[in-house]
């Protein structure tokens, strides 16, 4: 089970003891600290009918982690099971994913609390698991490189979904519930865990959703953390790039076998991964901005290579997605089955979503790489040299140990800048809402010169040759028919007009027929006031004339534009389309 999917149906935590229940040969309760230390948990199976509360009563009122997942035991493990020692695989030497896995498990605790405690807040009617997942979904959907959904928007949307969940009686609580869910997801919690072999207990702050300042500093928007997204797709695998490549390979494989319905699943995974990748890239770039001064040449080189890798990975994703979408569209054009078409359309939409995100990221990376190069040449700046400072260990602790009279001036030096500024003691001179300092360090260190906002040109993927439809009629025919129709003023029968074109051949007659038919729906043609508009209508008279037969349309030119009467064109039963003309045209025929 190490590193692979934890298919946990329930998350609970017990106290620090390790319990193992032999008789069922499969129920395995793992302590929270054990999980957080990243112990590989041996596979367990929960027998049918076993209820979680059995475990809970054995534990101490705190919930316990049960892995309800069937797996096979290695034979060696079976031997040690028989000897009734708890079977836990040896701790891995250095598992870089340990803290991430710990976080992923612990992160869901607030959601479980919500669901468990809903009775206390009279929210029984609502499904809080569902709402929490919906909330994360909404945040993830809107998450872009530097923007996302605002808190109020999220609460409103969530309240709407909450109302849909319940009947009339509970609806007025919907907004309260929505606010509660969002607060629980945003609230930062702390967990302690033991890191690696050093036995150092570390504290970690985490949340499922985080708040960030918008680019112009005026508002706050939400992002979902990696852990939140992992909760959504239920995987703890953290190598995003490999996951993306794998997902796309899966999609192609399934497409080749026309298994479009199945392909939507890896497509959605790919979309989640593309969203996660945004944060991965942001993180790398934030690190480059932060540490670049203290690096030696090797470190700089490795960062440049990493940025280049990211850029190449993004380019490759863009190319692959484009290719897949292209092949789906080819198939779509020929697909006979309604269901295949529907799946294909959904696939295309999902992949386009990935494509757009990757393209935005690609631009962002190019710009960042650019910044990085410039940053190496910048001058040192006062604030930029303040990094790596641990306020607790480096400042607060020593200050507490010093005598008051010695340390007071230092404390005052620190506190006064935090008070902000204003003339005298007037608070209002300072902007109430401060712009964020998102690019603060970067800007300070950047030379004040014209900044090419566009970055390097992006190589467009190669497009296939666009096939142009050949003209159905030749130029002479078109000109001839135009002339005939141009001379129409008072209403004339189409049979009449066709007769005029007898000598000119079938093509000309056909074109006239088509133009006249078009004229029966004049609202389909764009027109400006003052334009001459061709209109035609049937009045019940029919005709037969060699090659053509049918309604003997009355064709005329509409020259008088009168005031619109709503619904007047509804009589013709034609769809209403928007036109540049401000008014609808009533025909005087």
């Amino acid at each position: 089970m190490t590193g692979s999917e934890v298919n946990a149906s329930l998350f609970f935590f017990v106290d620090d003891t390790l319990r193992w229940d032999r008789p069922s040969l499969g129920r395995f309760v793992v302590s929270r600290s054990a999980v957080l230390e990243g112990w590989s948990v041996a596979a367990v199976s929960v027998a049918d009918g076993e209820k979680p509360h059995d475990v809970r009563t054995a534990a101490e009122g705190l919930p316990a982690l049960i892995l309800g997942h069937e797996s096979s035991w290695a034979d060696a493990d079976r031997a040690s099971i028989e000897s009734s020692r708890p079977v836990v695989a040896p701790r891995e030497a250095h598992d870089p994913t340990r803290s991430l896995r710990a976080k992923a498990l612990a992160c869901t605790a607030p959601v479980h609390d919500l669901q468990r405690n809903r009775g206390l807040r009279q929210w029984d009617a609502f499904d809080l698991y569902d709402l929490a997942l919906v909330a994360i979904d909404l945040v993830v959907d809107k998450m872009a490189v530097a923007s996302g959904i605002g808190t109020e928007e999220l609460v409103s949307e969530l309240a709407r979904r909450a109302r849909e969940q319940v009947d009339e009686t509970a609806r007025d609580k919907a907004r309260e519930v929505a606010v509660g869910v969002v607060e629980a997801l945003v609230r930062q919690s702390e967990i302690e865990y033991t890191a690696e072999a050093a036995d150092v207990r570390r504290q970690m702050r985490f949340a499922l959703l985080t708040e960030h300042e918008s680019e112009d500093g005026s508002s706050v928007y939400l992002r979902a953390t990696n852990e939140a997204i992992n909760v959504l797709i239920g995987a703890l695998n953290v190598d995003i790039e490999s996951a993306q490549v794998a997902a796309e390979a899966q999609i192609e494989h399934l497409l080749n076998r026309q298994r479009l319905a199945e392909a939507t699943v890896p497509a959605m995974h790919a979309r989640m991964r593309s969203i996660q990748y945004i944060d991965e890239v942001r993180r790398v770039i934030a690190e480059t901005k932060r540490d670049v001064r203290r690096w030696d040449e090797d470190e700089r080189e490795s960062v440049r290579r990493r940025l280049e890798e990211i850029r190449e990975h993004l380019q490759s994703r863009i190319d692959t997605e484009y290719k897949i979408v292209g092949s789906i569209q080819e198939k779509r054009d020929f697909a006979e089955r309604e269901d295949l078409r529907a799946h294909a359309a959904q696939l295309v939409e999902t992949l386009n979503d990935c494509f757009n995100r990757h393209r935005d990221l690609h631009r962002y990376v190019l710009d960042a790489a650019d910044t990085y190069v410039r940053e190496r040449n910048r001058q040192t700046n006062r604030l930029a040299s303040i990094d790596g400072v641990d306020l607790t260990d480096d400042l607060l602790l020593p200050a507490l140990a010093a005598s008051i009279e010695r340390v007071e001036p230092v404390l005052v030096s620190f506190a006064e800048p935090l008070l902000g500024m204003g003339p005298g003691s007037s608070l209002r001179a300072w902007p109430w809402r401060q712009p964020s300092f998102g690019d603060f360090l970067c800007d300070l260190l950047r030379d004040a010169q014209t900044h090419d906002e566009l970055g390097e040109p992006i190589e467009d993927p190669e497009f296939a040759e666009v096939a142009t439809d050949p003209l159905a009629f030749d130029e002479a025919t078109i000109a001839l028919v135009a002339r005939i129709l141009g001379e129409v003023d008072a209403p004339r029968r189409i049979s009449d007009l066709l007769r005029e074109l007898h000598e000119s051949g079938f093509a000309a007659e056909d074109l006239l027929r088509i133009q006249a038919l078009l004229a029966t729906a004049p609202e389909l043609s764009p027109a400006a006031p003052g334009d001459r508009l061709l209109v035609a209508a049937a009045d019940g008279v029919t005709f037969e004339d060699g090659a053509f037969a049918g309604d003997d349309l009355l064709v005329a030119a509409a020259t008088k534009i009168v005031e619109q009467q709503p619904g007047s064109l509804a009589v013709t039963g034609m769809p209403q389309l928007r036109r540049p003309v401000g008014k609808m045209v009533l025909f005087d025929v």
Binding site: L383, L411, E416
Partner: protein, 260 residues
Amino acid sequence: MSDMATAVGQLIGFSLQPKLAAARNEEYRELVARYRNDSEFQDAVVGTLSGMGLEVLTSHPLQGLVLAASAHGSPFRFRLGDFSANMKTEDRHRYALVFLAIAAASYPRAEALDDENGPLQQVSVSEVVRLLNQLAARVAEDRAAEHDDDPLKDKPLSRRLYQAVQSWPDTTQTKDDRHNSRLKSGMVSRALRWLAENGCADEVDTHARLYRMRGRFRVLVKDATAAIMDDLGAASIGEALAMVRSMAEKESESAGLAKG
């Protein structure tokens, strides 16, 4: 030249306005662009500001200019006395300490302080109080272990800071005392409210006294750290922190150093 002077004045005027972001105002945006691209204009702006006792912390095409009061002698600079009208001299260290504690609770590790696009940190009054108490207890333990307990002297200011923290009452049960500065929680609460009023924080939950710290606060904390460096006359932040650490030495040692 007077056109440039007017432009300088306009830009400064915009920058001082509450709630104004360059993204929303074309004139402001143009002036900021000129500031960023025209070094002569930039020099004029910086020079004027410096004369007024202000400095530019950042310039950003969408956000505009963000200003702060220069170090000392600036008419714009707030003093601790502005924060608390009836502050007694012997209480100064408490007021100042509270701000450091809030900063440490908001950015406990260096990564959080250095992360400019990172998540906004949340901090509550009770968290800050807890942090102060925990750290004070830790220092007390360490020093007791080294048999380093300084006897309480008559002069309260030669006590160690952690002792002051430990003898400072946390809170009372009455609601009225929420902002009573004789209590730790009261003073922390007042400080957080001040920060919220100055755009450094948003109140997230009034009942829980929970605040969300904005990007501005992060940068001011960096500025504050740099201010320590300047005031101690250190050449680098490392040197400044070393000097602070040396203040924590045993009195006999540090007394020797001080006299030296």
